[in-house]
Amino acid sequence: MHDLTAITALGGAEARVDRHGGVTLAENSDLALSSVAARLGQEETCAENLTRLLGAAPPAPGKALLSDPLSAVWMGPDQWMIGADYQAHETLAQTCKDVLKSSASVTEQSDAWVCFDLSGAGIQMVMELLCNIDHRRMEPGDATRTSIHHLGCFVVCGEPDAFVRILGPRASAGSLHHALLTAMHSAL
């Protein structure tokens, strides 16, 4: 076991949690991510392999598969982001490679992103100050990439007006956190 210690995207030893007006903003530092892009002409094989890996068909455009232990978000044509618990799946990318073999290109993405989980009634009012998507119409498993204060983020709906997961660029974790927290205080 190596002797380097990890810090969270916000730079702390522990993930940060903020609460305001019944809404909780939690940094989620325990997320392993890996991108999977089908090789040209291997799209179907890749989809089949992914189905085996995920236990369900990979999500369609604009959708996410909210399942355990592995979840998935559609990133682009024949491209997905696979997610899992970091402690248990630090080498998620390798796991994906082993299953997908030559049918896809796999890239470790765990530390390319910061993950924030927004939960509690009222998050719709928070989200409408942040990005241009119709949150009132989002259903569980809807996932879209959009811009929050000039930052390209994935917004995944867990439960309408109760839980939403936001993936943003890790290096800008502080700016994104500030934007989310400010919106919470403004809207609630």
């Binding site: 455009p61 604009g62 559609w74 682009g76 044509p77 241009n132 879209t144 990439r145 811009s147 390209g152």
Partner: protein
């Protein structure tokens, strides 16, 4: 503006980056191209007042390049396709 992404449906244009005329897909064949061909490809534009086929990049989204047909006098968009499909089509 709102661009109807072939895969993702209506998306705000601010998620996209504009490049220019879709003729940029027609890169000259280096084997046969003359300097005039390269000059026309890189520098000359129809710049129509009316329907215009143009390239938009969904940078804030799924990173697809799109070919959008948009009227430059009304901004009305009549067609959107994945640039990759268009490019493959042209090779046939």
């Amino acid at each position: 503006m709102i661009i109807h992404h072939p895969l993702l449906g209506p998306r705000d244009a601010s998620e996209f980056v504009y490049l220019g005329a879709a003729t940029l897909l027609d890169r000259p064949d280096p084997q046969t191209a003359t300097p005039d061909d390269w000059h026309a490809y890189a520098y000359l534009r129809d710049n129509p007042a009316g329907p215009h086929r143009e390239l938009w990049f969904h940078e804030g989204g799924d990173r697809s390049w799109l070919v959008v047909t948009r009227d430059t006098t009304t901004h009305e968009i009549t067609d959107v396709a994945l640039a990759r499909d268009v490019a493959l089509e042209r090779r046939k």
